[in-house]
Symmetry: C2
């Protein structure tokens, strides 16, 4: 049997035909053209799926289910997108709309959960019963896998790991609270921290790397400076990794996962990021005799959305 | 069928015969006399269980399993107490030792998980699929129920909800980290906060209530002062409830539980505590349209340990 996975993003709709092992047989995409009605977007999704099925030469009877990953707040059990900011979706009956085109089971979940599931089925957490996936990007996304299934709690409103306050009355978060992990550990936060350090230390290499143009500072700049021995760069990186470690230690103490998978652009730093991170977490967990942090870089890349969404139907 | 539940504490060993519904048929206890070898303690546990079975007049064939709740770090799957500070236990094979006396399945779990399970089976969270139980006492204990079962992660090292940092570089916690929720939301923390406020505000009612003797301040003092209109007392209580709310909002965003059960002495304050707590959490969760905090006071009291431990074997 095969599965269809759809990664519905603000820019593109990517979809693929996926086999039992989580391998993509064939994939394709169309622009989302957001701002349109959900009916128009779902129609394009359905046409894309039909094209993939035709191109792959499989029979519709060989398709077990359709899975859709979407950014925002989902009610997975009802198949409804409660809220998806970048698609202007509010209470959109995504499952019901999709089933107008295909008489197949349709599963929906949010993009962070779907990415975590992809890593669990076919990526860096393959074989682990309990795993957590964190994405350090514009925000901090989280996905929880328990007993090989996505956990998101009542009405799928959980797994918002980025919105765990680690600093009461701290930095303002986009969610309205102050001091969320996301406000300290996201790439956005790293850039803010780098700019602040550059302003306070005008002689640092950070300033030279961007020719004094703060708007050119990105999530790589502090790491680049640190690797060249710059003290300010090193301090920014150490403090940033410390913030990641605080949230990750919380997650270890709460979930005791076998594997933690970290994704997002910051992971390109590889062991330069992960080695001190593992050390900090290992030194801080509540049960150090038992809890040995196994922190790995995400493997699924851009395919995570398609594969994770497709696999939602495998054991359902 | 019946179940035996044992609540192994630092002072007493309490045990009971429990029915399928989580009702205690007969219970009894003996002193733990801690400091003895684990073999001696388990022998007394076994004798207590045998006495209960005899007194109740049930046949051993009617007993399905024995469950043991114990404070500390357990490896539930192996039946081993990894570490229990107040019993001087380290890598104690509790299941194997108990099975020298009874040819029955033996389950072990830590006291906070067991208490959460008792609330889920027969207490304040009865009927909820996802629930969290928090105990605000000397520390902050946590138990997680997912799909009606205790969740504690790999090697049972999770569910340490009190050891979630909410204030990076904040108050020193007993676990070695700084800024844990426990260091702000426990009864111990409330007493510390009350003493500090009393010192800074010598004219407050708090000082009068204890005749200026700071050592008489307990977890009730600030609440008593606040209820009589004392400004300092009100400020302490509001800030303390704010700290509880920060951790609880994190837990809502992570787990999206249907019910949160709060236990411990502080809960005697009832709605005076719970009403502002619900309001603060409701105003802060990530998905307020979906997540409506249902926060309730624990119902199982001192029986939680026996009932929760007994029920570990019910669906196993």
């Amino acid at each position: 049997m095969y599965y269809i996975g759809i990664d519905l993003g603000g820019t593109n709709i990517a979809a693929g035909l996926v086999d039992e092992e989580g391998r993509i047989v064939l994939k394709d995409s169309v622009p989302t053209l957001k701002g349109r009605s959900y009916e128009a977007i779902v129609k394009d999704m359905a046409m894309l799926v039909q094209k993939i099925i035709n191109d792959a030469g499989v029979d519709i009877k060989e398709i077990k289910s359709i899975g859709i990953g979407c950014p925002g707040v989902m009610d997975s059990s009802e198949g409804v997108v409660v809220f998806a900011n970048n698609l202007n979706f509010r209470y959109v009956p995504l499952r019901a709309e999709m089933q107008k085109y295909f008489s197949l089971p349709v599963f929906i979940d949010n993009d962070a959960n779907v990415a975590a599931f992809a890593e669990s089925v076919a990526g860096a957490a393959k074989g682990a019963r309990y795993s957590i996936a964190i994405t350090l990007g514009t925000g901090v996304g989280g996905g929880i896998i328990i007993d090989g299934k996505v956990y998101s709690g009542f009405k799928s409103a959980g797994a918002e790991l980025g919105h765990m306050v680690i600093m009461v009355d701290g930095e303002q978060c986009t969610c309205g609270r102050k001091g969320c992990w996301e406000a300290y550990a996201s790439a956005t936060a790293l850039i803010r921290q780098t700019i602040q350090a550059a302003k306070e230390n005008p002689d640092s290499l950070i300033n030279k790397l961007v020719d004094g143009d703060m708007s050119r500072i990105d999530a790589k700049t502090a790491f680049d400076a640190a690797k060249q021995g710059d003290e300010t760069g090193k301090k920014v990186v150490e403090k940033y990794i410390g913030y990641i470690a605080e949230g990750l230690t919380n997650i270890m103490n709460i979930f005791s996962p076998e594997v933690v998978v970290i994704g997002g652009g910051v992971c390109k730093e590889g062991e330069y990021l992960l080695k001190p991170l593992r050390e900090k977490v290992a030194a801080s967990v509540y049960s150090p005799d038992v809890l040995k942090p196994d922190i790995r870089v995400a493997q699924m890349g851009n395919d995570a959305g398609i594969v994770g969404a497709a696999m939602l139907g495998r054991d359902a």
